[in-house]
């Protein structure tokens, strides 16, 4: 616990550096990731992340130092090269994009590993720490490095906010952007460059192997909370920053632990939580909505069946047994009973001596469904010219969806008809 306060009181200036650094790195990659995610190029980021390894090694071999400036340039070159190659392989051969990504990713990484092991075996003393690029080490962010990485991160965020509108356009509708006269190719190139830059900076915190998560996961999580790109970018950046902060803490408390995996675990937990509990788009809320709709359809069908039963002998309010209803229309018994109880609770039905009967409200509701069904059948046969024996199925679905506005429109268009195509009375 002591370390917790020690860390979060930010009394040690080196802690401040590490915290600012990791937050900047993770947040900026989350921002760029939002756009690669929306362009459905999420895995390309994975390829770039792996492909920067040979660049870093090459820069080290050529310069002989671990100066972050050289390493960033090296990483940038091979990261960029990997994207060009993926693009070329997919457009110029029959290899599909997924295979191209997998090949470039693994081969570049293999070359990187070959170089890295070669450097390590060469006995060059200054190479130690080069492998912290593999799994990330936020705590290694000090002074000079922090400035370099920090500057790149700031450049990234500024560029994204400057070209926000353009990036948004090409993410959603390439052709529309083209027709507006936007330099689509140039913007795409900008996004590519930003992706490479984001990867190059992020690897210090997360490492090359898990860098993909920093691009993909915050964006995927943020997508569940909003439909607005700006909000989504901000949410993704915040989630990224939080995971970066906690990652820095872990790195501080347990120096032997690689930071990257912890950051990824945290952001993944946030994402998983979002997938399930986010309102509207989340799995739970979607399941609830679906269940509600199922209930609604079941209830409406039941009321409709009751109304049909009453139509024959004009005894709409007569009580009926569950068996009678099933005879009219087959419902699974258990679902029928739960629906009957639900409708009673909501005041649409009442139960007397084991018989179920309409209340006033229930009759109105059942009648409306029947009316909508028949109106729609008539509409289909009259305006869409579908044969009368083919319209039932369609009406069966649409009757639960038609809004009062459409209902009024249908009535007006069909001039309050008396009969549907099957010569059945349309109840008003």
């Amino acid at each position: 616990m002591d370390t917790f306060f020690e860390f979060f009181s930010f009394s040690d200036p080196s802690i401040v550096a590490v915290v600012i650094g990791s937050i900047l790195l993770t947040a900026s990659s989350a921002v760029v990731g939002t756009f690669t995610f929306l362009r459905k190029k999420a895995l390309v980021g994975d390829a770039v992340a792996h492909a920067v390894l040979p660049g870093i090694c090459l820069a080290f071999i050529l310069s002989g130092t671990k100066n972050p400036f050289f390493l960033i340039i090296g990483a940038f070159v091979t990261g960029w090269l990997s994207l060009v190659l993926i693009d070329n392989i997919t457009t110029r051969s029959k290899i599909k994009e997924d295979s191209a990504i997998a090949i470039i990713l693994s081969v570049f990484f293999g070359i990187g590993i070959l170089m890295l092991t070669h450097i390590q075996h060469s006995g060059n003393a200054s190479q130690t720490g080069l492998d912290s690029f593999l799994f990330g080490k936020a705590a290694a962010l000090v002074g000079k490095d922090l400035i370099t990485f920090g500057i790149v991160a700031v450049i990234l965020m500024v560029t994204v906010s400057l070209f926000f509108k353009e990036l948004k356009l090409i993410a959603f509708d390439m052709n529309y952007a083209k027709s507006l006269g936007l330099p689509v190719k140039a913007i795409d190139l900008l996004l590519t460059t930003l992706t490479v830059l984001a990867v190059v900076t992020g690897i210090q915190a997360v490492g090359v192997i898990l860098m993909a998560a920093m691009l993909i996961t915050p964006a995927a999580a943020a997508r569940f909370w909003t439909n607005d790109v700006k909000t989504m970018t901000i949410i993704a950046a915040t989630m990224g920053a939080i995971s970066g902060l906690i990652g820095a803490y872990v790195s501080y408390v347990a120096p032997a632990m690689p930071t990257g995996p912890w950051i990824v675990m945290i952001i993944s937990a946030v994402a998983l939580l979002s997938f399930f509990i986010a309102p509207k788009r989340g799995i739970i809320s979607r399941a609830v909505d679906q269940r509600k709709l199922q209930y609604q359809i079941m209830d409406e069908n039941l009321l409709k069946a009751l109304f049909h039963l009453g139509e024959k002998n004009d005894d709409t309010y007569k009580g009926r047994t569950a068996e009678e209803i099933i005879e009219k229309r087959h419902f699974p018994k258990a679902r029928l009973m739960s629906s009957l109880k639900r409708l009673k609770r909501e005041g649409f039905l009442k139960k007397k001596n084991g018989l179920w009967a309409f209340t006033e409200a229930g009759r109105i509701k059942g009648q409306r469904v029947v009316k909508l069904h028949r109106l729609w059948e008539l509409y289909l046969s009259k305006y869409v010219k579908i044969a009368a024996d083919h319209v039932h199925e369609d009406a069966e679905t649409i009757e639960h969806i038609i809004t009062p506005e459409i209902e009024a429109e249908l009535e007006r268009m069909l001039e309050y008809p008396e009969m549907d195509p099957h010569e059945e009375r349309i109840p008003y």
């Binding site: 999420a42 090949i103 799995i283």
Partner: protein, 300 residues
């Protein structure tokens, strides 16, 4: 003798991976293969920790199940959460891989595994790691036995299920109409991929196994249009990359697995440029010839 063992083991692994990879790339599932090879890591670490040995059947079974779980999770995120496929893959495997790395750090000292081993395996140790029975009988390198058993299993699997795999790969709609369960064979294939990944893990590590899954089949795919030839060429490439990869690694004093993958990449680039049927150089030459022929023809 050491070189012979190493090259043999890596060839056997590369052939197993390549055969499965042929199906993967034609199903456009190369990245799912990538995801599985990352995602089995926590299973491997836990199995090491629980059983304390490397050569346990439980490890292969456990990791195989984790691979199927990964496939399921990707489908689940895609279908239930309506997450786009690429993001579903990305989220799933990075999370499981991160978990695996953390487990390695937590169990460090208790488990004979380190991050380097995860990254590029320890194929150089193949000749040292011998399989010696309790009575002292020496049966040679253990990895050798594992790799040929896996190869036999894979060949059997593909041989027995060839029709089903072939049909579900090329025409899933038709396969479904003749009563072949597309999703069952998908899961079986993914199970096979995870088992192979686990078996290859010691030798080439979790990430480079992807290269063996994808690069040789893709190279073969550029050289032929017939599926049977594609399988055969993949096997030939497996031999070539293992042989030259080993000597490249010796020459550079670097990781053998890394070198094998490097050679695989070079072969792919060569096929991409110079393949007689699909290479871009040859295609350009054909186009030029065609253009010349057209311009020579007298205008009608």
């Amino acid at each position: 003798m050491d070189a012979f063992y190493i090259i043999t083991v890596s060839t056997l692994i590369a052939i197993s991976c390549g055969i499965l990879g042929c199906f993967l790339i034609l199903r456009k599932m190369a990245m799912v293969g990538d995801a599985i090879s990352h995602a089995v890591l926590p299973g491997i670490v836990l199995a090491y920790f629980i059983t304390g040995t490397r050569d346990s059947i439980w490890m292969i079974v456990g990791a195989g199940m984790l691979g199927i779980f990964t496939t399921f999770l990707i489908e689940f995120f895609h279908k239930k959460a309506r997450l786009q496929t690429d993001a579903a893959i990305g989220v799933t495997f990075t999370w499981l891989f991160a978990l695996g790395i953390i487990l390695i750090s937590v169990f460090a000292g208790q488990v004979d595994l380190d991050q380097d081993c995860v990254l590029y395996g320890e194929i150089a140790y193949v000749p040292i790691d011998l399989w010696i029975t309790e009575s002292g009988q020496n049966y040679g390198p253990r990895a050798l036995h594992v790799s040929y058993i896996v190869l036999i299993l894979i060949v059997l699997f593909v041989r027995v299920g060839f029709k089903q795999l072939y049909l579900t790969t090329f025409d899933p709609a038709f396969a479904a109409t003749v009563g072949i369960s597309v999703s069952l064979w998908n899961y079986l294939l993914m199970g096979a991929v995870s088992m192979t990944t686990v078996a290859s893990f010691d030798s080439v590590g979790a990430i480079l196994v992807v290269a063996l899954l994808v690069a040789p089949p893709a190279t073969a795919y550029l050289l032929t249009d017939k599926f049977k030839y594609m399988l055969i060429i993949t096997c030939i490439i497996a031999v070539i990359i293992s042989f030259f990869g080993y000597y490249l690694a010796v020459y550079l004093d670097g990781s053998i697995a890394g070198a094998i993958v490097t050679v695989a990449g070079i072969l792919f680039m060569l096929a991409f440029l110079f393949s007689p049927s699909n290479g871009i150089v040859f295609k350009r030459y054909l186009q030029k010839k065609e253009a010349a022929k057209l311009s020579q023809e007298p205008a009608q």
